[in-house]
Amino acid sequence: MQEAELTAATRIEAGRSYGFFTDTTVCIGCKACEVACKNWNGVGVDGLEWSGNSYDNTGDLGAQTWRHVAFVEQNKALWHGQTQRWLMMSDVCKHCTRAGCFDACPTGAIIRTEFDTIVVQSDVCNGCGYCVMACPYGVIELDLGGSGLAQKCTLCYDRLRGGLEPACAKACPTDSIQFGPLDALVERAVDRTVALRHQGIEDAYLWGLDEHQAGGLNAFFLLVDEPEVYNLPRSGTDPADFVAESAWRTTVAALLLGLFTILNFLRAGHDA
């Protein structure tokens, strides 16, 4: 029996798609996920500076922060006459279907695993940093203070192989982070959204399942405000989808400029 069957009610099998459903409405901002992630993955220390941005001192996802809890204090007209709320959301690598980082990587360091997750192999990465510019969500980052290599969430690849659910999901005390096979997660997420709307939280919606979010994300979120409020964009593209057009246009330009130069040399040297 796998431990995941006990803690996440799922059996982890190669060949299936796994992901995270993060339900931000039950997040209490305890940061157990950030701590569990650092602990399990041996990721370096950061966020020891006082940012003054609510309770958020790690700031954003990056080389040393693979789970990041955002805190948004709001003062505005809300449902049921309320005017104040505190949004909390645990962000993570989206493990995109059309992953920009994966396509951009020239060394093949970034792979899609048997669990349909995206992982950087640190022994192959050479620190070129091209993946960083290709991620539409600002997730992956070079560890410039240390190894110089690209780092991000692995969706606990090693744990999945051992039949354990990811550390963050296991540590989350409110089940704001849920791990499981993608199809089951989506079903659960849709039910939850419908239920919330019935309860009067009409702004509840799922972010990350649409095609225009990098082909659909394995890590998606239930949000109650505009995506930008949580520092998420409205769409995400895989830059590699434009390479072919970019390349043929450049080729045409190259041939034209080459031809132009040849013509210049064919012209009689009237001025010599």
């Binding site: 396509d103 050479n126 960083v132 600002g138 930008e228 593209t237 390479v243 330009a253 400029l257």
Partner: protein, 321 residues
């Protein structure tokens, strides 16, 4: 806050403590220098091949200096800059594990490697003919007998590749300013590379007093044509950027951008074909500096846009036209 009836624009979006929603990457001087040197190398190689194949006796200096610039900038300076950027030389080998057509970085590495071979061969043959290899007896004889044509006719395509692919590399990213010009950046970099290559060859011809009036005129014409194309493409790109053009035209990148236009396009075009050697040297230097400044503004403008969440949210908003 943007609503669904009115297309939103920069400044309309809520942000998360004004923090960027993207990572802009670490590209600074080494990579800017590589874009500049690699482009110049590719353009010089192309000019050398064309001068050799389609020109005559009077075009010889173009072929000679074009070959030398190609090997120094392409096979020496470019790899050094790239490997320096990686931090550890041994890391470069990981690039050679695979060939990935969807990754401009992978295709570019193989292109650079191939180009280094061809530029090395051409420079070797040229050096043999210039008598520089005399101490190496048999090698010098071999270099003198091998013809240029088989190498240069293939290598010239890799020269064009070197001049243009960096534009593809730059614009196929999520950085708003770069991504917005993915259709034209390759052509812009190409024309700029041809202009800097013409300038570099003109400069060396002038400095070594190895010039002919016809070679000077031909390079002048090529450079003028390339600069006109480059100017038109830059104008188109700036227009196409819409509100994002602010990251280029205002703020800390603006001085680089405007001086790039001034040094790289306006002044060289106004100088036309200087009669004096000093004039030619000045014009060439201006063009070279201008080409570097243009790449600086392109790279740094991208960083500025990636650091502003407004630019990212605007660029990734499907409701925008």
């Amino acid at each position: 806050m943007p609503n669904d009836h009115q297309p939103p624009t920069l400044g309309d979006y809520p942000t998360y403590y004004d923090k960027p929603a993207l990572k802009s990457g670490h590209w600074r001087w080494l990579i800017i220098g590589y874009f500049w040197a690699g482009g110049m190398a590719g353009g010089s190689y192309l000019l050398a091949m064309i001068a050799h194949l389609f020109g005559d006796e009077a075009d010889r200096p173009i072929a000679r200096w074009g070959r030398y610039i190609a090997v120094v900038m392409g096979a020496v300076v470019s790899p050094v800059l790239l490997i320096w950027d990686l931090g550890k030389p041994s890391r470069f080998y990981n690039m050679l594990r695979i060939f990935k057509p969807r990754s401009p970085m992978s295709v570019g590495t193989w292109g650079l490697l191939t180009f280094s071979f061809f530029s090395g061969m051409s420079a070797f043959l040229q050096a043999a003919r210039d008598g520089l290899l005399r101490p190496f007896g048999p090698l010098a004889r071999l270099g003198k007998t091998l013809p240029f044509i088989p190498f240069e006719s293939i290598g010239a395509f890799f020269g064009l590749f070197m001049s243009g692919y960096t534009g593809v590399l730059l614009s196929n990213a999520t950085v708003p300013l770069w991504a917005k010009s993915y259709k034209t950046k390759g052509a812009t970099f190409l024309s700029s590379a041809l202009a800097t290559a013409s300038a570099a060859i003109t400069l060396l011809m002038a400095l070594t007093d190895n010039e002919t009036p016809r070679a000077i005129r031909r390079l002048h014409h090529v450079q003028r044509g390339a600069m006109i194309v480059e100017g038109a493409l830059i104008a188109h790109e700036v227009h196409h950027l819409g509100p994002l053009r602010g990251y280029l035209l205002r703020g800390k990148v603006a001085p680089h951008f405007y001086s790039a236009l001034l040094c790289g396009l306006v002044l060289p075009l106004l100088m036309r074909s200087p009669r004096s050697r000093a004039g030619r040297i000045l014009k060439a230097l201006l063009t070279l500096v201008g080409g570097f400044l243009y790449r600086t503004s392109a790279v740094m403008g991208g960083h500025a846009s990636a650091e502003d969440p407004q630019a990212i949210f605007y660029h990734s908003d499907p409701r925008r036209d």
